[in-house]
């Protein structure tokens, strides 16, 4: 029973593991692009958490049609929220990459330790 519960939450385990992989990359990698990749994984993990929570067992797409009664629907709200969060994530990544381009222009490197040494 314990094992079943453990496996039953597998998408939340994936969420936690992805979150930590992303976090590790942000902290441990010196390359700025790799840091941004880590940041993206970190954010995507949260998208997975939101999408997991809206699933209602046996639920279908939440489209209301005349004549259909007693139908179980999945919760559409977290999906809408995460659509917004994805947009935010994309803008952050774009801005981050733009800054990395400027860093490369001014410092000639995108390795964090070399940038620190340059100043």
């Amino acid at each position: 029973m314990k094992l079943f519960e453990f496996l039953g939450y597998y998408n939340y385990w994936v969420f936690a593991i992805l979150l930590m992989i992303g976090f590790y990359a942000v902290i441990a990698k010196a390359n700025l692009i790799k840091k941004l990749i880590g940041l993206s994984i970190f954010q995507s993990a949260v998208f997975l958490m939101y999408i997991s929570m809206d699933k209602v067992e046996g639920g279908t797409a939440p489209i209301i049609k005349p004549g259909v009664v007693d139908q179980l629907y999945s919760n559409p709200l977290p999906q809408v929220l995460i659509l917004t969060a994805i947009v935010v994530g994309v803008s952050t990544l774009a801005l981050g990459l733009a800054i990395v381009v400027r860093i490369k222009e001014r410092y000639g490197t995108i390795e964090e330790n070399e940038i620190l040494d340059a100043d």
């Binding site: 976090f23 942000v26 700025l32 840091k35 940041l39 970190f42 954010q43 949260v46 958490m49 939101y50 929570m53 977290p78 929220l81 917004t84 969060a85 935010v88 803008s91 952050t92 801005l95 981050g96 800054i99 990395v100 400027r102 860093i103 001014r106 410092y107 964090e112 940038i115 620190l116 100043d119």
Partner: protein, 501 residues
């Protein structure tokens, strides 16, 4: 429907719409004027809101006519009103003073985009304050943060870029933590409306997810608010940002995160088990350490802007220490200090911006004898510095006094905290004095006396100087007549602690 009910929506919508207009029209030389006009309009709206709040109203606005909790509700009470005044006041004053400094630091063709980012930052910050929807707060937080990164990245020095990259990484991690926390609360309560959430949280049996969510929200917002030891992004970002951006962000940037933090911890999790006590016990040591450590670092810092940035970290410590007392007077002190510190630090950074018009290098040593050529600016710096220390007659005194009174209420243990506040004020005397001593130093004999006199040019009176003197005058005014912020702060603490009145 009466016009006043639209005020919360106008507060967000006007800067949000003005930003793309400035980019599309690309008006030559007009960008600054249009942005400043928008900021003043925002300020007028904030004042109108504050007047309504003082008359005893709570403004609610149902976005798109969808009633809460299904639709997104905007909700403004006294706590929001005082933070709105801080944001739009800081924006108006820093923008009207900004023209020359920005012309010096940002190329002409980049200015419309730069000012558009500034307007988006204002829209994001006020949005976080007026909205009553947890997810909406996340969206506005990211609007303001992204715009803030762009503003900071406008700095001419190349060291701006690594600083802003670090801020981007840390800021995004903070926002994502907040998002995880909100997701967990939504899982347990099924609502995003703050008021609705506060009611539903009480009845929940399985408390663990909510406690975990509270921790995520706390850490996420503490990162944004630069609570010690999560402040590492702040000193470099403030130091290398364009001077006027530092004025704006130092006055209101971190305070908005503190606002959301207090809203969550008090309004939502207040009656939730032992949570509030755990929160206070966790927060208090960090706040105290922040006050001491950041003040000491400021004491030994050689760069004027970085010194003031570290002092900001210490001030965030004061604000959160007041909140961690969990008492009516503690939260009053903390809200009041948000307001007064915005005035003080705004004035200090305006003085820095004015110094920067004549001194390219802002290390303290290179400002030697600056008072000879810039007497007014130096004098304004002295007064603002006194307010930072907390000398009676200035705004800084009122909030420190409130804080000490609030600590004394807690009993015997309070003396340790009072000691810490006093010691760190003495350290503040130390680092402000170091600057004053340098500013008023008698020129050394490497320049003959008559040559020094020739080099002294009369100080140019411009908008920056006028704004600086105005802000310093406000520091004195609110030090002598603290009625308005004090009333709002008292109302805020009653709202946060849910005292009926």
């Amino acid at each position: 429907m009466d016009f006043a009910q639209h005020l919360p929506a106008l507060q967000v919508i006007v800067p949000l719409l003005a930003a793309p207009l400035i980019v599309l029209l690309q008006p030559r030389g007009f960008a600054w004027a249009a942005t400043t006009a928008t900021a003043f309009f925002s300020f007028a709206v904030s004042i109108a809101i504050a007047v309504r709040i003082l008359a005893g109203d709570i403004l609610r606005y149902e976005m798109g006519g969808w009633f809460a909790p299904i639709g997104i509700e905007l909700r403004v009470d006294a706590f929001s009103a005082i933070v709105l005044l801080i944001i739009s006041g800081a924006a108006a004053i820093s923008l009207i003073a900004a023209r020359n400094s920005i012309n010096q630091q940002i190329e002409d063709h980049r200015q419309p985009l730069f000012f558009a980012a500034w307007l988006l930052a204002i829209a994001g910050l006020v949005g976080m304050v007026v909205t009553a929807d947890a997810f909406n707060i996340f969206v506005f937080m990211e609007i303001s943060s992204l715009a803030g990164y762009i503003l900071i990245a406008g700095g001419p020095d190349r060291r701006t870029l690594p600083a802003v990259f670090k801020y981007l990484i840390i800021g995004t991690i903070g926002a994502t933590f907040y998002l995880i926390g909100v997701g967990m609360i939504y899982m347990m309560t099924g609502t995003l409306n703050l008021e609705d959430m506060a009611q539903r949280v009480v009845g929940i049996e399985d408390q663990r997810p909510i406690l975990v969510a509270a921790a995520f929200v706390f850490i996420g917002l503490a990162l944004k608010a630069a609570l010690f030891p999560l402040h590492v992004w702040l000193p470099n970002a403030y130091t290398h940002a364009p001077h006027m951006v530092t004025v704006f962000l130092a006055a209101c940037g971190t305070k908005v995160a503190v606002y959301v933090l207090l809203r969550f911890q008090f309004s939502i999790f207040q009656s939730f088990g032992e949570h509030l006590l755990q929160f206070a016990l966790f927060l208090m040591p960090l706040a105290l350490l922040g006050i001491i450590v950041a003040s000491l670092v400021a004491m030994f810092e050689g760069h004027l802007k970085r010194m003031l940035a570290f002092s900001s970290v210490a001030q965030i410590g004061y604000i959160l220490m007041g909140a961690s007392l969990m008492s009516d007077s503690g939260i009053t002190a903390s809200t009041l200090h948000m307001f007064n510190h915005a005035l003080t630090k705004g004035a200090l950074f305006l003085a820095v911006a004015k110094f920067a018009t004549q001194y390219a290098d802002l290390r303290i040593d290179s400002l030697k004898s600056a008072a000879r050529s810039m007497p007014l600016t130096s004098f304004a710096f002295v007064i603002a510095g006194l307010s930072l220390i907390g000398v009676p007659g200035t705004a800084g005194f009122i909030s420190k006094w409130q804080l000490i009174m609030a600590i004394m209420e807690t009993g015997n243990m309070g003396f340790i905290m009072v000691a810490i506040v006093v010691i760190s004020s003495l350290i503040a005397v130390g680092y402000i004095w170091r600057v004053i001593e340098t500013l008023y130093a008698i020129p050394t004999d490497d320049l003959p006396d008559d040559a020094a006199d020739v080099s002294v040019k009369p100080e140019k009176i411009d908008m920056l100087l006028i704004a600086l003197i105005f802000t310093v005058a406000m520091n004195i005014y609110f030090g002598l007549v603290p009625g308005l912020p004090l009333t709002l702060a008292e109302l805020s603490s009653k709202i946060l602690l849910k005292v009926e009145f």
